[in-house]
């Protein structure tokens, strides 16, 4: 079978077309956000938020609300809790993060087992982009549009906020607002990512593309394009790989992302370890 045929054959199935489109969309959006996450050093925060949305998703399902709403409330709520505990106690931030998100996640697990509903836990934990419903597709589109709009509108302010919050503050920019804006966007993106790769692996979508791009350039604009590009490519390739090999879609997407990161880590023109050694 030729390469073209190999690529076209899966497109005969509607579920594959849908999965490719949604994965690419979510990949692109998370890729853009991942630039800010890596530069701000919020990988752990991304992990926390993505796990903490579980009880929100379960409650929203049980109450018949859009699950993105529940996820959003709990995502932002977990971050607010982290901030509050950190401020009011002597415990260090990474401990507080570990403590709070596992607490939320555990609550979610208990709720799943106690709620009489058709929630499929595996689907939430590991994603199920091949079986995504029409309503979920619509929700994902809405979320992605909101996230991209916010990131584009505030891209320079957010960049400054990541780079030098003291300066941002001293020229009268509301850094508290930017902090919560970025967190809200993170919660929303986590919900979108949850659709494709599930709660456990969504942090990869929010970190890996940015880290890969960061090794390849010293320019922010180029970094965003590289992150989006590598993320979209990983999503598409991952979905195909999972189809050909009949294996976990989430696993394949994240594996491709990790593979691209390894390539950059070894071969990046200036920051790759092989090129640094030879120069």
């Amino acid at each position: 079978m030729s390469v073209v045929a190999l690529l076209l054959e899966p497109l005969r199935h509607d579920f594959m077309v849908r999965a490719l489109l949604i994965s690419a969309l979510v990949g692109g959006v998370c890729g853009l956000l991942s630039c800010y996450m890596t530069l701000k050093g919020w990988a752990l925060m991304g992990d926390a938020v993505s796990h903490a949305v579980l009880p929100g998703v379960v409650l929203a399902y049980a109450l018949g609300l859009p699950f993105s709403l529940g996820a959003f409330v709990f995502g932002v709520g977990s971050v607010a809790t982290i901030g509050f505990v950190k401020q009011k106690s002597r415990i260090k931030e990474d401990t507080v993060i570990g403590l709070v998100f596992t607490g939320f996640f555990a609550l979610g697990l208990v709720l799943v087992s106690k709620t009489r509903s058709n929630i499929d836990l595996t689907q939430i934990l590991f994603g199920n982009v091949l079986g995504i419903s029409a309503a979920d597709i619509q929700q994902t589109w809405m979320i992605c549009l909101v996230v991209v709009a916010l990131l584009l509108l505030f891209r320079r302010d957010l960049l400054l906020f990541c780079f030098d919050p003291t300066h941002a503050r001293s020229i009268g920019i509301n850094t508290g607002l930017l902090h919560y804006l970025l967190l809200s966007v993170l919660s929303l993106a986590a919900v979108a990512g949850l659709q494709t790769v599930g709660i456990i692996l969504v942090v990869a979508m929010l970190v890996t593309p940015g880290a890969t791009a960061y090794l390849l350039t010293d320019r922010f604009d180029r970094m965003t394009w590289l992150a989006i590009g590598s993320s979209v490519l990983s999503s598409l390739l991952g979905v195909y790989l999972s189809y050909w090999s009949d294996s976990s879609t989430a696993g394949c997407i994240v594996l491709v992302q990790t593979g691209l990161f390894l390539l950059a880590f070894l071969l990046a023109p200036r920051h790759g370890i092989l090129c640094r050694r030879s120069s």
Binding site: L39, L153, R156, D157, L159, L160, C162, F163, D164, T166, H167, A168, R169, S170, I171, G172, I173, Y214, T217, D218, R219, F220, R222, M223
Partner: protein, 248 residues
């Protein structure tokens, strides 16, 4: 005489531990003031209060007669960070960094106008970095980086400049250039507050000195304040050798 910075009986505490108490300070327009004190004496706390990062538990601050938040909206305050406080690998160019000084005067999308580009260009010329404007920040030396942040403050056209340890790890050329720039800015009625360990710089070109140890210990003309007694008080009664050398 225009007053640029007026702090009255300022108290700042973090979760119950006092960082600064009863600190009062008045700085007129057109002066260079050195702020001297040990680590943890409250220098950065005072900067944080002046940039609105911490809210004083008591006392008040006026900058150009305005509250801190209002003065910030007027772009009156520029903060030049310590090199350690900045991620030098951040993917921004020198031009981008200096343009950030203009954000406060731009619209919400921060799209630069011609006047913003001119201000950035002019600031880069003044710190002799125009040739390196497209370089990423990571490709600069420590001194060049310092100059880039100074250019940002110049591009902002602030009347109050707060500099955190500006002479740490800079080359001779940068040091000379910064000293000249400080004098130029002073003649343009800017007020420059420099936090530093380095007493020789303070003696060389600061008009005023403020000694800090949890509060303002002494404040006034450099020649009057730089006495062995004051300095030993600021440094906890045990003036190090460096210090003794400076004051003889």
């Amino acid at each position: 005489m225009t007053i640029r910075i007026a702090a009255e009986q300022l108290c700042v505490d973090y979760n119950g531990s006092v960082a600064l108490y009863d600190a009062s300070l008045t700085l007129p327009a057109g002066c260079i003031c050195g702020m001297v004190g040990m680590n943890g004496a409250g220098k950065s706390t005072l900067f944080k209060a002046l940039t609105g990062f911490v809210r004083p538990s008591r006392g008040r601050i006026r900058i150009n007669g305005l509250k801190v938040a209002e003065a910030q909206r007027e772009q009156a305050v520029a903060y030049v960070p310590q090199s350690e406080g900045i991620d030098c690998d951040f993917p921004v160019s020198v031009w981008d960094v200096v343009m950030m000084g203009r954000y406060g005067s731009m619209n919400l999308l921060r799209i630069p106008r011609q006047s913003d580009r001119l201000a950035v260009r002019n600031a880069l010329e003044r710190v002799e970095l125009l040739d390196l404007r497209d370089r990423p920040l990571s490709a600069l030396s420590g001194g060049q980086r310092k100059r880039a942040f100074l250019a940002r403050a110049i591009a902002q056209r602030a009347s109050v400049l707060l500099l955190d340890e500006p002479f740490n790890g800079v080359d001779v050329r940068t040091e000379k250039l910064m000293a000249e720039l400080f004098l130029q800015l002073r003649s343009q009625a800017c007020t420059i507050l420099i936090s530093t360990h380095d007493l020789s710089h303070v003696r060389d070109f600061c008009d005023l000195v403020v000694l800090i140890n949890k509060t303002v210990l002494a404040y006034g003309e450099t020649s009057e304040v730089f006495t062995p007694e004051n300095l030993s008080q600021a440094f906890g009664g045990l003036p190090p050798d460096v210090l003794r050398g400076q004051t003889q």
